[in-house]
Amino acid sequence: MKIHKYDTVIVGAGGAGMRAAIEATKRSRTAVLTKLYPTRSHTGAAQGGMAAALANVEEDNWEWHTFDTVKGGDYLVDQDAAEILAKEAIDSVLDLEKMGLPFNRTPNGTIDQRRFGGHSRNHGEAPVRRSCYAADRTGHMILQTLYQNCVKEGVEFFNEFYVLDQLITETDGIKRSAGVVAYELATGEIHIFQAKSVIYASGGCGKFFKVTSNAHTLTGDGQAAVYRRGIPLEDMEFFQFHPTGIWRMGILLTEGARGEGGILRNKDGERFMEKYAPVMKDLASRDVVSRSIYTEIREGRGCGPEGDHVYLDLTHLPPEQLDAKLPDITEFARTYLGIEPYTDPIPIQPTAHYAMGGIPTNVQGEVLADNTTVVPGLYAAGEVACVSVHGANRLGTNSLLDINVFGKRAGIAAAEYAQSADFVELPENPESFVAEQIERLRTSTGNERVAQLRRELQETMDANVMVFRTEQTIKTAVEKIAELRERYKNVAIQDKGKRFNTDLLEAIELGNLLDLAEVMAVSALARKESRGGHYREDYPNRDDVNFMRHTMAYREVGADGTETVRLDYKPVVQTRYQPMERKY
């Protein structure tokens, strides 16, 4: 075991982690721990763009952007945070340009902008061009640009280090962050990082679904690590299902495809979104489009022999436009489906995409231990966090924005805190939880296998807590997850070695997914209304009287060691906008 001491430790090197690192490194001695090489992070998969009311191509302003964000989130958004997001968007895009990001350009050389779902002029009048983009690889360019600037600033990375535990020490009745425990993939060694500030930027947890746009490595390690230590998770029932994943594979085809004029069609060739969203049509917000697709499928208008998908039609767009604006996604269709998008429509289905919920923070990125109390020295930003700017449903292009705005804020706040704070004493035997977990898995002689449990988990999640949910389906999921958690105790691995033991890490990642799946299902069961990404067929309307509030889920351990999820609620911050019915 090795012990390291840093002012600031950042967990994760995606967009949020590296944006934070650029700020924190200038102000404090900083280490970035990441399970992947920084440029492998899933921010690189983002395609469509990053929202900011630059008004480079048409009239726009941050107030309209705030409104769209609040409405898109079905009014569960904290409006103070949304206002910061929309206001600071402009500088955060300009920051990236100055760092070197090669945005597409307008004829007069400024950053070009395009339409995206849910973004409108003047409070819903018509779609607006607000998304700044670099072809359909905006996330790739953001990730590369941030890494390049980390190289420039000399940021210190610990690559292929898996953070598996959060260290908390209680002094004067206050829970404080003392550091983290990490496992080094190359050697199997355990490292303790004592730090004045810790920032979680470890991304999402979409891998508990089967059809997903998320990478294999998005297993919610950060959320699980803090949850196990008594920190609540906020709004975990809200998960976004993106309308256009490649049929059966889940690989994302950006909404930018519809922003460029692509149309969704059912088996009769009908442009069905006209029925569900007369104004915004194919560019209505994602939850609305995903439900419309499944409604078409359920009512027998799906395509293919099994009627289980619809088409994304780009055939009316000029090939030059597809080559210039959507080169990567058209190549995905060719590579993975053998389809030529110039001439043939692409089979698609909704795909599990984005966790709106996560570790609760305030607008400085400080993590909350309950509805109001901050955990000194603990921060979170990016998809792992819940500020909450996305509420019940995130608008496209608002996450690349979120990771930049709140990544930067968390980086500054954490480093400034570290400048004035002292190290918190480490708990006794800080490595014990991780050491025991590893030892148990390495020596287990049980008969359960990781891949089998993961498959069963993904199947139950897809079947029961996806686009449509009912009391019955969610209960089925809750029971199944409980069974899987029980069986997980008997999981065994085949690789007993120390070197690059990815067999072991997949087992640990599955444990995290199971914890988070339980939180999600239990939170969903209690929310007896429909709002944004959470749609209950048995409660199809939004219920502002009883449910205009954030869910806060806590892990409770009984005297006999049984674990349960305890739910509490937190008020939504409302400033300018009164809840209205959401129409597109």
Binding site: R105, Q144, A215, V450, R499, D503
Partner: protein, 258 residues
């Protein structure tokens, strides 16, 4: 070597079901190495059933998840954008997640080896550090000399933006560098990926450190080592014209115009 086979029902893997099953039987012949077990690398055959429209990466997962958990490789995104899983598949560098089994002659055993020229650490995992060091050595970040930052964005025409578009696509997968015979013979050579990333800045109209980067590449281990074998261009999963980019850097070194 015999393939360890688990009881299929116990593994519960989706298997062939109906008569007109799309599944075929394939053999993956994988180069294995684990210094914790033996100092020697060996070949191991795995035979299993799979839909040939699936990716080589899906096949590797089938092995790891249902047959032999010790098989070790890197991967993340599974659709060709993170650069984790470059490997030598039937003798050619490719991304396992971007190669469909049906496209690589599955009637014969499919050979899978780690990329060449970097130290193998375990099975298909190599030490990427020298590769990233060469990348960092070309100063892969925008350098400008202006003392006052502009308040708005810097302007760039669409034509100037187009000039370096191709080389911005790089995902640092190392398929090019590890397909290069010059790199195999001498690991000191910067390699095509580092040159591609230098190109991305040299030809960016906003950048003002082109001269410095060119000097770095003028080094003994720089662009002049390139023999124009085109292996790199063939290997690049992003379709970057790597050899062309290297040629443009060579030309810029001669004319000092870029």
């Amino acid at each position: 070597m015999a393939t360890p086979v688990l009881d299929k029902d116990a593994a519960g893997a989706p298997g062939p079901s109906s008569a007109e099953s799309p599944y075929i039987t394939v053999t993956f012949r994988v180069r294995r190495f684990n210094p914790e077990v033996s100092a020697e690398a060996t070949w191991e055959d795995f035979q299993f059933e799979i839909d040939p429209k699936e990716r080589v990466l899906d096949g590797l997962h089938k092995i790891k998840w249902d047959l032999d958990g010790t098989l070790t490789f890197r991967r993340s995104c599974a659709h060709g954008i993170c650069g984790s899983d470059a490997m030598r598949i039937n003798g050619k560098n490719r991304l396992a997640c971007k190669t469909l089994i049906k496209d690589i002659n599955p009637e014969k055993p499919i050979t899978i080896e780690p990329i060449k020229g970097l130290t193998v650490l375990k099975d298909l995992v190599v030490d990427m550090e020298p590769f990233f060091q060469a990348y960092r050595d070309v100063m892969p970040f925008l350098i400008t000399k202006d003392t006052n930052e502009p308040t708005r964005e810097r302007l760039q025409s669409a034509e100037d933006r187009e000039r370096f578009d191709d080389t911005t696509k790089c995902i640092l997968c190392a398929a090019c560098t590890t397909s290069c015979p010059v790199f195999w013979n001498d690991g000191q050579y910067f390699g095509p990926a580092a040159i591609v990333n230098a190109h991305r800045f040299i030809f960016d109209s906003r950048d003002e450190a082109g001269e410095q980067r060119l000097e770095i590449l003028n080094d003994r281990d720089g662009v002049w080592r390139c023999r124009t074998t085109f292996n790199c261009t063939d290997a690049c999963p992003r379709g970057i014209e790597v050899t062309k980019a290297i040629a443009e850097v060579k030309r810029a070194l001669i004319t000092r115009r870029y």
